[in-house]
Amino acid sequence: MASIATLRRIGLPRLIVHVSVLFVCILWLVPTLGILVTSLRDPAQITSSGWWTAFSGASQTAAVRLGDPASARQEGANYVITGSVFDAPQAATATGGEPGATGNGTVRSFGTKVTAPAEFAAGATADLGTGETLVVNEDGSYRLSRTGPFDNGRGRRLYLTVSTPPSFTMGNYENVLTAQGIGQSFVNSLTVAIPSTIIPVLIAAFAAYALAWMNFSGKSLLIALVVGLMVVPLQMSLIPVLRMYNGIGSTFGIPARSYAGVWLFHTAFGMPLAIYLLRNYIAGLPKEIIESARVDGATDFEIFLKIVLPLSFPALASFAIFQFLWTWNDLLVAMVFLGTGSDQLVLTGALNALLGSRGGKWEILTASAFITIIVPIIVFFALQRYLVRGLLAGSVKGG
């Protein structure tokens, strides 16, 4: 009754709101959770069961061949074969797919006929007819006995249902960071992102100050230009800039593809949004502060450095976060201007290459993907306030 009273107090429409928001949250979170859980699972378990079963352990069907009749010992009137199913070789089966029983699982059930692979529970004594009995225990040990000598030439085929406990490992991460080159790519991504984030902030701040607090002809045209250039697609610049870099490279005998080229490209493409965001913010600073500083004889350079820059920290931070996320997550610019050699790939490029070369290897893909997204996610949660502020101030730009 209490729950009904609560329900009445909350109200049905209110409950629907709670439930639907919860549903959307789960829908939004589950795909990411999937790769996080998968990246921590044992590679063998990833392919044998869905990641949502990771915490309940996996259950797999196996087919093995028991010990050879030649290995039978005689115990009184009986001939006995003993051993462990986990040491037994894999048996070829009609359905083909079943693997051998490996690892440290627990036997749940067993059977000798493909039509009834789980006929007997583990520990039970199965009567196989013609005087043959079989016991398979949970720990995998078995005892096959017959009242006379075994007459068939090969070991008996046995079907097993084996449940393995949940097994989590950091091995996938160790593997991708070293053997798959993700560690190097992580460093490459940092190398691209750090200068491409900080240098544009400074250049744009000076320009924004000029556009906000200086009077000169052509100012309105420049502001319109900044707003217009914010939406120029990256694609427009790719061919001419690549030709330009190739030209510079062959003229001066330096590599056409370099970090410097990527830094400058990112800096230039961040410029319109940076100037727009910072100009709006700097123009909104109190007029009295700047004018009184001017009256006191401070030059524009001093006003900028000592008053404007410290006061505009929130706007600078907003833009820096945007620019960092954008340069860290970028694939196209790095692919075109940085080259695709394995030691030059940034994280996004490396992930893209792995999708091609390690298509079904989900333990590698998920671990690599998680390393790729973890840095921006940390930045996101730590500095979300600035990110939202920047979005609200500069939502004209398309990413």
Binding site: T32, A268, V396
Partner: protein, 337 residues
């Protein structure tokens, strides 16, 4: 590897220092060329005026240079290159444009881009608006918003891997480890290879961008909703309007401007969509879009800058109306300048 990071940080320090040095030196130079101190007999006010006239351009100089080289010049150069052959040497008139009009893959890309434009901005704005309204009414709304906003930080490539795993297909009677196929088989239907299903595969790629961008729409629209004057809603309540009417007739009309901004921002993003298609299908199974076709032609068979330029110009042409609208809007906001 560590030395690489150290050198990158070194570049930051040197870069910042050089920038600061530039602004400082230019200011000094200005004072040297146009002195106003003691001992200057004449023209103090003239020199002051000259300084004030030149200084903005010194402040703007590096930014203008960068933008000119990387944004303005390329737009013109791409336009010119579109009339030249694959190496950009011989003038070929309109032949690249004629190729584009007749090319099946180009038409397919245009069709797919229109499909993306029709679905993604609308879906993101709609979901964003609904979620913004719902989360504003519950106590854990901010927490929910953070979760839905989070994919915004994830790269398109990372998101593609996340969703490729959701769409994973395994043949025969193997256990389905992809979430979508597991649900489908649990409901008794046959598993599907989602990303190669003709036509519908486009929608499975769009879902990724919708997943990323809904949070953006939600944040912006939520702020706009909070900016709606309380009195207008109270007046509607007093007049007997129900929730549905308040939403559509009172709230939505007051945030039309913001809805337009969200819509156009996502539209521009959709026109440039590249990473998702590259990593999910690389344009196979009829999922090619303009940005990927352009990239393809940049390097296909040694590269064809003419055809590639034409495709880039099509993207640019599609963005232009929004660009003009943005400029008008900005000029209105800043009171004409």
């Amino acid at each position: 590897m560590i030395s690489q990071v150290v050198s990158a940080i070194g570049v930051v320090v040197v870069g910042v220092f050089c920038c600061a040095l530039y602004y400082w030196l230019s200011e000094k130079l200005l004072q040297l060329v146009f002195p106003v101190g003691q001992g200057v007999a004449q023209g103090v006010s003239v020199n002051l005026r000259r300084r004030a006239a030149i200084r903005p351009w010194l402040f703007l100089g590096p930014a203008i240079l960068l933008v000119a080289v990387y944004l303005v010049y390329p737009v013109i150069a791409t336009f010119i290159l579109s009339f030249y052959d694959r190496a950009g040497v011989n003038y070929v008139g309109l032949s690249n444009y004629r190729w584009a009009v007749a090319d099946d893959q180009f038409r397919q890309s245009i069709f797919n881009n229109i499909l993306w434009l029709a679905v993604v901005p609308a879906a993101c704005t709609f979901f964003g608006l609904v979620i913004a309204v719902l989360t504003d009414r519950i106590w854990w709304g901010n927490f929910a918003k953070t979760l839905i906003f989070m994919p915004m930080a994830i790269s398109f490539v990372g998101a593609s891997v996340i969703w490729k795993f959701v769409y994973e297909y395994r043949s025969g009677n193997e256990t389905q480890i992809g979430l979508l196929n597991a649900i489908v088989t649990a409901l008794g239907a046959d598993p599907q290879v989602w990303i190669s299903l003709p036509f519908w595969n486009n929608f499975f790629l769009m879902a990724i961008l919708i997943w990323i961008q809904t949070g953006f729409a939600m944040v912006i629209l939520s702020a706009a909703l909070r900016g709606i004057p309380e009195e207008t809603i109270e007046a509607a309540v007093i007049d007997g309007a129900n929730g549905w009417q308040i939403f559509w007739k009172i709230m939505v009309p007051q945030i039309w401007g913001t809805i337009a901004v969200v819509w156009t921002t996502i539209t521009i993003l959709v026109l440039k969509v590249f990473d998702i298609v590259l990593t999910m299908t690389n344009g196979q199974w009829n999922t090619m879009v303009l940005a990927n076709l352009m990239f393809d032609w940049m390097f296909r068979g040694g590269g064809d800058s003419g055809r590639s330029a034409v495709i880039a110009l099509v993207i640019m042409a599609a963005v232009t109306p929004i660009m003009i609208w943005n400029i008008r809007q900005a000029q209105r906001d800043t009171g004409g300048y």
